[in-house]
Assembly symmetry: C2
Homo-oligomer: 167 residues x 2
Amino acid sequence: MTKGPRPQAPVSCPIGRAVGLLGERWTLLILRNANLGTTRFDAFRAELGIADNILSSRLARMVEAGLLTRVPYRGSGRTRHEYRLTTAGAEVLPVLHALAVWGQEHTESPEPAAPMRVIHQQCGQVTTPGRVCDHCGEPVRREEEAWVRPWLSSEPTVLASPVRTGS
Amino acid sequence: MTKGPRPQAPVSCPIGRAVGLLGERWTLLILRNANLGTTRFDAFRAELGIADNILSSRLARMVEAGLLTRVPYRGSGRTRHEYRLTTAGAEVLPVLHALAVWGQEHTESPEPAAPMRVIHQQCGQVTTPGRVCDHCGEPVRREEEAWVRPWLSSEPTVLASPVRTGS
DNA sequence: GGCTAAACTTGCTCAACGCAAGCCAGCGAA
DNA sequence: TTCGCTGGCTTGCGTTGAGCAAGTTTAGCC
C-alpha cells in the first residue's frame, strides 16, 4: 500500500479515485489496446513493449480491480487464459477519447503526418473522438466506432465488446 | 529518462503521448486543483498532501511541458511565483470530466452520499461533466462551469481561467 | 537583529519499474 | 523418447522514483 493516491485509496473525489485505479504506469495503455481487441498476454507484451513481470502484475491488478476478466480459452488443445474487457474497462473509452483529443492538440507526433482518426461506421465518416458523431449528429455506439491508426495500418479497427457480466 | 512511455517519448499514438505527459503520479491531480483555482505551492501541498520535493519537481516538469506557467505576483510586498494554467493545462478538462464520470460510476466513495456535481451557471442547473449541458442543451463554456464537491464545501467553485498566452 | 513564512533543496529509505534469465505444461517433430 | 518450442508467468538484481524529514534561502516585519 502506497501513501500516494495509487491503489484504491478511499478518497472522496471521484477523479482521485479514478486516477488511483487508472493512473498507474501502463494501465491506460493496456486498456487502450484491450478496447482495440487485444486479449492475450503475448499480444499486449508485443504491442506495448512492456516487461512481462510488470505486465503480469498489472493484468492481475486490473482483473482484481474489475477492469478486465480472465477467461479460459483453448489455444490448439491447451487451455490458456485471455483478458477480456469488463463494462468498467470498456467505459474508460471516454477517457481515452479525451486523451486522444488532447494528445493530438498538444503533443508533437514523431512522424509528420497521419493523425489518428475515428470512424462512425453507421455513416462511414470521420468524427472527432467523442459521444456524438460530428458528421451525422447521432450518438456513436461502441459497436459502430472504429479507429484508424495510420502509423500501424490503414485498416480501421472496430472496438472490442466487453464481456457480458451477468446482471 | 525512463524506458517506459513516461516523459514525452516520441510515440506515434496521441493517447500514448498524452499518457506520457499527463500520466505521472500527481500530474492529473495537480491539474484538477489548478483548474479549480489553486495557484500556489503551499496550497497544492496542503490540498493534495504531496511531499514538497515531489511537488517541486512535478511543478517544474509541468511548467517545462507547457501545462503551467510560473508567473510572478506580489504577496504583501514580496515577489513570489504562482503556477497558472496554460491553455494546454486548461484543455485537460475533458479528461478530468471523463475521469469524474468514470469514477462516480465505477468506484466506491468512502462517504456514503454527496457525489460531485457540475453546475452550468448560465442556466443554474446541474449537469453531468461534459461539453454540453444536460439541462439546457447549450455547450458549457469554461467560465460558466462550476464544481460542487460536497465533501469539502457546499459552495460551488468556478473553474479557473488559463493565462493568456500571446497568440 | 531575530522571527517568520514561502518555496525549495538535500539526504536517506523503500517501493516500483526494467532487464534478463529461468520455469513449467503440453504439443509436435526427430 | 527426448528435444525443442511456445505461452504465461516467476525470480533476482540493479536503477529510478516517491515519501519523509530536516535544512536552506530570501525578504518582510517587529
